[in-house]
């Protein structure tokens, strides 16, 4: 389906004469086609100010499309990170005695907060705060987390009381507080101004931002729609940095990473996508405008605005000049917009009509992926997808195999999940994002992890980290679980 959209996009671009090798827009789209989203975004975002008015709209559209995919990717990375980090921290917690970790309680609290397990998060934050071995100045971070959990449990007074005790003398603390306010919607606390003040302080001291600070800023910038500041921050950041290093005894170093970074990146790219697409949609170029309409429909739907999505998709479907494949995909989105707006029957009818009218594998795959996203059980879609997947392996059926793999991952049938996604994988280039949809790779890595095929999972993340360095937030925890779970004798052989 992405291929169809890319073809449309390239056609739009070809309407303007240019030198392919030198044209940043075309190079950006080529990078996008190879799933090198970060490289593509960097190139196009840098190019944007110098683009003439004719190409600016196309650049906005390209940026919007890429941000949309990047947001989806980081969303799945975020989910995988929560699962794996929780497993790792839980195992760390079982170590008792003088070499035990004290910070593990804090990071368990943080991860549980991200996972929405609020009462459990509260318990671990409290344990961290009660730990006499933790320095008082380190406890402020936990207070912010604990207060956030209280707030999300509707204990607002308790939350405000606790937040008010946090010392705001360090940029990390100030931005953590700003991110917490932003997250729970307390815009009157002026989180953006707090971030600015923290950055000024940092600059005066001549320090570079820590990963904690960067994560907080991305959170605030995303929620405030500050795309330019966010891009600038991400460009400069080392996203594979660890959040905290603890050395309980000699030769024992524990490095903590936080899945919140991946969640914030997802949110940021989602917001950026909508912003870029809105600009592209305002263009006078009919082709750009049409494609932007479709992607805005997707974006609004994905990021919680089904009513806006419905308006966009309605307009897109009713126009005459769009390819049928994209129109059908828009109809899938419409079906789920109905569902999200409470009309399940309309959603089912629309999906049923589509199933009867079009048996194109990629469309069925999109239906199934949407079902998974919204936890919408549609047995007919699964049956039809399974029948299609029987036709074999390879590229043409890659998307349907991915969708089925993701479906079985959701259903916790990990063996089937791995088997389907394996069938969808380009075996000649098994882990490379240039040849495999990184979204599929993340899900395959998670299915492998849950099947205890740890090294398979690590290899996928290792390759992905070359393009998406924030994947480090998962890798180290995965290595930790693997080291504790592996049961091998210690053998090595010459090959």
């Amino acid at each position: 389906m992405k291929k169809a959209a890319l073809i449309c996009m390239l056609m739009v671009l070809l309407a303007v004469p240019s030198h392919a090798a030198k044209d940043p827009l075309k190079r950006g789209l080529q990078l996008y086609k190879k799933h090198r989203y970060e490289d593509a975004l960097h190139l196009l975002y840098t190019y944007l100010p110098s683009a003439d008015s004719g190409r600016q709209a196309k650049t906005y559209l390209s940026l919007g499309m890429i941000c949309l995919d990047n947001a989806n990717l980081y969303q799945d990375l975020y989910h995988a990170a929560i699962v794996i980090n929780l497993d790792y921290f839980t195992r760390l917690l079982s170590v008792k005695g003088p070499s035990k970790s004290h910070w593990v309680n804090f990071y368990l609290g943080q991860t549980l907060l991200e996972a929405g397990e609020l009462s459990e998060a509260v318990a671990f934050f409290k344990k961290f705060l009660a730990d006499e071995n933790v320095q008082p100045q380190d406890k402020d971070l936990a207070k912010i987390g604990l207060a956030t959990a209280y707030f999300l449990q509707d204990e607002h007074d308790k939350a405000h009381d606790l937040w008010s005790t946090v010392k705001q003398n360090k940029p990390e603390l100030l931005t953590s507080l700003a991110a917490a306010y932003s997250r729970v919607g307390l815009t009157e606390k002026k989180p953006l101004a707090m971030c600015k003040s923290a950055l000024d302080r940092l600059q005066r001291a001549g320090h570079t931002p820590s990963i904690q600070l960067i994560t907080n800023l991305i959170c605030v910038y995303a929620r405030e729609g500050r795309v330019d500041e966010g891009f600038e921050m991400i460009k400069q950041a080392d996203l594979k940095a660890f959040f905290h290093e603890e050395i309980p005894t000699k030769n024992k170093v524990i490095r903590f990473y936080d899945s919140a970074l991946l969640g914030n990146l997802s949110l940021f790219y989602a917001k950026a996508a909508l912003k870029f697409l809105e600009k592209a949609h305002a263009s006078n170029d009919k082709n750009v405008n049409g494609l932007a309409q479709y992607y805005l429909g997707e974006g609004y739907g994905l990021f919680g605005h089904p009513d806006q999505s419905m308006r966009m998709m309605k307009a897109f479907i009713s126009a005459n000049n769009h390819p049928l494949r994209l129109k059908n995909k828009a109809k899938v989105r419409q079906a789920f917009n109905h569902y999200l707006l409470g009309d399940e029957a309309a959603a089912k009818d629309q999906l049923s009509d589509l199933l009867q009218a079009d048996s194109e594998p990629n469309l069925i795959a999109e239906m199934l992926l949407s079902c998974i996203q919204y936890k919408f059980d549609a047995p007919q879609v699964v049956i039809q997808a399974s029948a299609m997947a029987q036709r074999g392996q390879g590229k043409p059926l890659s998307r349907i195999n991915f969708a089925l793999g993701k479906y079985y991952l959701w259903k916790k049938n990990y063996r089937k999940a791995v088997s389907y996604m394996e069938a969808g994988r380009d075996k000649s280039n098994k882990n490379r994002v240039e040849f495999n949809d990184p979204l599929m790779l993340v899900n395959l890595a998670e299915a492998n992890y849950r099947s205890k095929h740890f090294s398979e999972s690590l290899e996928i993340f290792f390759e992905m980290s070359k393009q998406f360095p924030a994947v480090r937030q998962i890798q180290v925890a995965l290595q930790g679980v693997y080291s504790m779970e592996q049961k091998s004798a210690g053998d090595v052989k010459i090959f």
Binding site: N251, K430, K452, E456, K487, A489, V492, F495
Partner: protein, 538 residues
């Protein structure tokens, strides 16, 4: 009447043949027995026993012939094997194994099968640890203090100290007391190493003149007779020919698919391509007994001189990952912060100059009048087209910085003797494969220098020795992980090897083989459950 008698005799004969053999155990999974599995190997093993062998080909064979006290199932959990249960003392130092009483050794022709007992376990341990037994296993089992026979079916191991993952280490394969000729130690001259007897699902029938290893189903296998009647390991010196053999149905399975064949196999509906993540990597090893190569600067210069990415892309279609140190990237021990040295021939020349080498009139580096000319030894079993190209490229890259390299391709066994026994080499090309434990102690600890030991390049570093010992002593997973990260860092800097890449591993097999699960390291661990539908047996 005579005719009727003949018919009855034939009928009775056929009836008897159809009956399971006396004492034969069948699996109750409902899958049929019969058929043969021909699989392609990329060489032939030097020995077939689990103690003296140190290559993957022999490991795969011994997985079919032998059992350990414990095994590992498909979910990576430790399960009972020759021991039906065990107790571990509270202090973690005493492991008591209660052995199965229904296990017999493969019987030699005309002999009754002999029972497996505690004596065999003690014999295996003693022979493995005997100073004159040449085995890479010794270093793994130095943590055992004593083994005691409690009775015929109970053995007790006393550990010097509790260690991490001790139970998994009791998966070492047990050999029979009545097997080797020499009951004290196991030498490579002992007939047992070529004609082993085990308890496993398959027994060795014979080795043909073409060096095919023929295994047949053990009718008395204690877990039930394996489904497939016969397993034949066929050696192929050239991986390209192995791929063709599969495609023309001459063999049914390839344990490691040549990367060039992957696209074709992926598109062929007759075959299944199954990834299995063996933790492996390829490297150029340096013999530090050579004074020139004892200099770290020279070793590093060689690494800087190679464009590994170009080699990987050109010769392996980019199907792998450049590595920076002694672990595979899929391992928990890989230090993600250590980056591979970049391709930088200028830096390589600079390092050689620092080490006292200057370019002579013929363009070759020399020091004190002696040219920098070295020999690389490569096993012929590795002489696939891609490996040949790697060696040629290696020579070319090094010639660009003024180093002369002579490549010597050797027959597999001769190569192993030169590298592991005589240490007669300057440079060598090979690959290591690890199980999940990422134990590099036998590769880089100075106590592992000696005949048939894995530290063939005589690498010595006091900090590495200390860290390896500390990692073995600790009971803390995170501490061991920290130590491994540090080991990665030091070894990457010391450069005892030029670490190259880890390649993706695929097995390929004909779809007639069913219920195929592959152990990522030992490969055939679950092969007794594999089967071929009757309609496809030939």
């Amino acid at each position: 009447m005579k005719r009727l008698a003949s018919v009855l005799t034939i009928f009775f004969g056929v009836f008897v043949m159809l009956l399971p053999q006396a004492g034969a155990l069948t699996k109750d999974d409902g899958n049929p027995n019969g058929g043969a599995l021909n699989y392609g190997e990329y060489g032939r093993p030097a020995t077939l026993d689990p103690i003296t062998s140190n290559d993957m080909i022999a490991l795969r064979i011994s997985e079919l012939i032998f059992n350990g006290l414990v095994g590992i199932d498909e979910k990576q959990e430790i399960v009972a094997d020759l021991a039906e249960r065990w107790d571990i003392s509270e202090n973690g130092r005493m492991y008591t194994f209660y052995l199965r009483k229904d296990v017999t050794w493969h019987a030699k022709e005309g002999e009754d099968p002999m029972p497996f007992t505690a004596d065999d376990v003690i014999f295996t341990y003693n022979i493995m640890m005997h100073p004159e037994t040449i085995t890479p296993l010794k270093v793994r089992y130095e943590f055992i203090d004593a083994v005691t026979k409690i009775d015929d079916y109970t053995v007790e191991f006393t550990l010097k100290r509790p260690i991490l993952n001790a139970l998994a280490k009791f998966s070492f394969k047990i050999i029979p007391k009545h097997g080797p000729q020499n009951s004290e130690f196991l030498a490579r001259e002992d007939p047992f190493v070529q004609n082993p007897i085990g308890t496993g699902p398959y027994l060795l029938k014979n080795i043909t003149a073409e060096r095919e290893i023929i295994l047949v189903a053990n009718e008395n296998y204690f877990k039930g007779r394996p489904h497939i009647d016969k397993v034949i390991a066929r050696p192929f010196a050239d991986q390209n020919i192995m791929g063709q053999a599969l495609m023309f149905n001459a063999i049914d399975m390839i344990v490691l698919v040549n990367h060039r064949d992957i696209p074709q196999l992926q598109g062929d509906k007759r075959f299944v391509l199954q990834p299995y993540n063996a933790l492996s990597y390829s490297f150029f090893g340096f013999n530090t007994r050579n004074p020139t190569l004892a200099d770290k600067r020279v070793r590093k210069a060689f690494t800087y001189a190679l464009n590994r990415k170009e080699m990987l892309d050109s010769f392996f279609q980019g199907q792998g990952t450049i590595i920076s140190g002694p672990y595979a990237p899929g391992s928990w021990a890989y230090n993600l912060d250590v980056q591979p040295l970049p391709y930088d021939p200028g830096k390589a020349v600079e390092l050689l100059n620092e080490a006292g080498f200057v370019k002579g009139a013929d363009g070759i580096m020399e020091k004190n009048g002696k040219k920098l000319s070295l020999t690389i030894k490569v096993p012929i079993a590795k002489e696939s087209e891609a490996v040949k190209r790697v060696i040629l490229a290696f020579r070319n890259y090094l010639s660009k910085i003024g180093v002369e390299i002579n490549a010597e391709f050797q027959e597999w066994l001769a190569w192993k003797e030169d590298i592991f026994l005589h240490h007669d080499f300057d440079l060598m090309f090979a690959s290591w494969v690890f199980d999940d434990s990422a134990d590099i102690s036998s590769l880089f600890h100075s106590a592992e220098i000696g005949p048939w030991k894995n530290n063939f390049g005589a690498f010595t570093n006091a900090e590495v020795d200390g860290l390896i010992v500390e990692s073995k002593l600790t009971l803390d997973h995170e501490k061991r992980r920290t130590i491994n990260r540090r080991l990665h860092e030091i070894i990457a800097d010391e450069n005892p090897y030029t670490f190259l890449w880890t390649l993706t591993n695929y097995a390929a097999f004909n779809k007639k083989l069913r219920r195929v699960a592959i152990h990522p390291y030992k490969f055939f661990s679950f092969a007794d459950d594999w089967f071929i539908p009757e309609s496809e047996q030939r």
